[in-house]
């Protein structure tokens, strides 16, 4: 059985004036340890789907099962959700920010704290513990947010355009870093992005979404050769260019 099962999810937003169907009968199975990207036009419901998977939003119909159980019933934090911006708490130091999840989950102990600080070090931010978020650059904050999400040790990571606010170089570097970190811990991840290249370089499977209402239009599997490379190396591989063309064409078809 799959690690994550998204079963026939539909969601409609109601406001006084309108009812907007953001998602319509989405079904998807995701295996443990795999990396999925969601690619699609703005407003097709990607963020909505992530909110539903994380349990922050109840779908109008359908259900999400993680390891065979509804997400609300899990006692462990199975899911780490990294929002589109870093949302570090400006009045907390970096240390307080990254330990926040552990503290709320009552899992703060010597070992888990040590692990978190090691993570911060690996991500290249040793020595920033006592600083405040506004003393860091955008890319550094993004990395801290990643540490905060990983610190709680979730099995499934939801990443909503985590690299969109970064300059190209930082973005490439972070892609490699995230990819390596997730692989080494064997995490399952879902990445929302607008960047075709990023989707190809990082993931095992790409889900193309069509809008109005949001549906999965197509699933494209990334060839084995690319999966085993780091995102940066993958971008230089010949397969990359041809897959890029394919995805590009599909997206163009989608708009028609």
């Amino acid at each position: 059985m799959s690690f994550l099962r998204i079963q026939n999810i539909s969601h409609t937003y109601f406001t006084k004036k309108s009812a907007k169907t953001a998602l319509s009968s989405i079904s998807l199975d995701i295996e443990e340890g795999s990396f999925i990207s969601f690619l699609g036009p703005s407003g097709c419901g990607k963020t909505t789907l992530l909110s539903i998977i994380s349990g922050l939003l109840n779908p109008s119909s359908g259900q999400v099962l993680v390891e065979g159980r509804p997400i609300q019933e899990a006692e462990e934090p199975l899911i780490g959700y990294m929002l589109q911006q870093d949302y570090l708490f400006p009045w907390k130091t970096i240390e307080e920010n990254i330990l926040l999840g552990l503290r709320i989950l009552n899992k703060s102990n010597e070992i888990s704290r040590k692990k978190t600080f090691r993570l911060l070090k690996e991500i290249g931010l040793e020595g920033t513990e006592n600083q405040y978020p506004k003393q860091l650059s955008g890319g550094m904050k993004q990395r801290v947010a990643l540490v905060r999400t990983l610190a709680a040790d979730p099995k499934l990571l939801l990443l909503d355009e985590p690299f969109s606010a970064l300059d190209f170089q930082t973005k490439l570097r972070l892609e490699d870093l995230v990819s390596a970190t997730l692989k080494s811990f064997g995490k399952t991840a879902i990445l929302v992005t607008h960047d075709i290249g990023e989707a190809i370089a990082m993931s095992d499977t790409i889900c193309l979404f069509s809008s109005n209402p949001g549906q999965i239009y197509k699933q494209i599997s990334v060839p084995e050769q690319l999966r085993n490379l780091t995102p940066f190396e993958a971008r230089a591989h010949p397969e990359y260019a041809s897959l890029f063309q394919t995805v590009w064409k599909e997206l163009e078809n989608l708009e028609k």
Partner: protein, 271 residues
């Protein structure tokens, strides 16, 4: 290169000197206005350009103050008023913030109470004075209640509004870790609104003085407000003006203290 840098140093020195000079000028004028005001007052009272019975004079006020200091009675009055004001101010701010938290906690309650808040906010609170005195008795409970009630509704409205304006994504971050509503409030909402709460303190200090003085007018037992009303009734305007000056001094001190507190807190909250 070297001469250029010494030149810049010199300019910088000149700039600092000009700042100091300006500050000195400002202080001189301020002192002058102070001295001018009181000497004209003294003079016009002595020469009877104005009615000395009504406008008194600085020397008479000081004389009165000295006798009141000698018999110690002024300290009781100051003590009462300052105590009532501080308590009213703290109570008003705390209960306003607490009410705001309740409104935030339950959207239904906040919707239900909305029109009442509007009405209560629009109403002049001092008009409630007589009712408070009947309800709580003519003592300092009613006066403190006046000091608090005058600031509680506006605090509620301002703080509640800022609670609602906190970016909901901060709460989402906490909720992904399974945080309860209480944890969300404690970790995200309250600290995010700290600057707003502190700035309401400044407004509330002023409001509490109004509430307490009016309360003392009505209760008429003790305090600087009572001295004003008493002096008015026995036509002792030296007493009225003396109390007024003392109120001005203490209100200023309290306001400065709160401002100092604000600077400290804001600084520590966004280092």
């Amino acid at each position: 290169m070297k001469s250029k840098s010494t030149h810049i140093e010199q300019l910088h020195k000149q700039y600092i000197e000009s700042l100091i000079r300006e500050k000195r000028i400002v202080r001189t004028y301020q002192l002058f206005i102070f001295a001018f005001f009181f000497s004209v007052w003294e003079l016009s009272s002595r020469l009877e350009w104005v009615d000395p019975l009504i406008f008194s004079s600085p020397s008479k006020i000081i004389e009165l103050l000295l006798t009141k200091i000698q018999d110690g009675s002024i300290f009781t009055h100051i003590g009462y008023t300052v105590f009532e004001t501080i308590l009213g101010f703290i109570l008003g701010t705390l209960s306003g913030t607490l009410l705001a938290a309740i409104l935030w906690w339950s959207p239904l309650v906040s919707k239900v109470l909305d029109p009442y808040l509007v009405i209560l906010n629009a109403m002049p609170k001092v008009a409630l004075g007589p009712i408070l005195i009947v309800a709580l008795g003519p003592g300092f409970t009613s006066i403190i209640a006046m000091g608090a009630i005058i600031s509680v509704i506006i605090t509620t409205i301002v703080v509640y509004t800022s609670f609602r304006e906190v970016d909901p994504n901060y709460m989402k971050v906490l909720q992904t870790f399974g945080a309860s509503r209480f944890v969300c409030f404690k970790e995200a909402i309250l600290p995010a609104c700290f600057p707003t709460i502190i700035s309401t303190l400044k407004v509330n200090v002023g409001l509490s003085w109004v509430g307490v003085i009016v309360g003392e007018f009505l209760v008429s037992q003790q305090g600087l407000g009572y001295l004003i009303i008493y002096g008015f009734q026995v036509f002792n305007f030296s007493l009225v003006l003396m109390s007024l000056l003392i109120i001005a001094v203490f209100a200023t001190i309290m306001y400065q203290l709160v401002e100092y507190l604000e600077r400290k807190m804001i600084k520590s909250s966004n280092q």
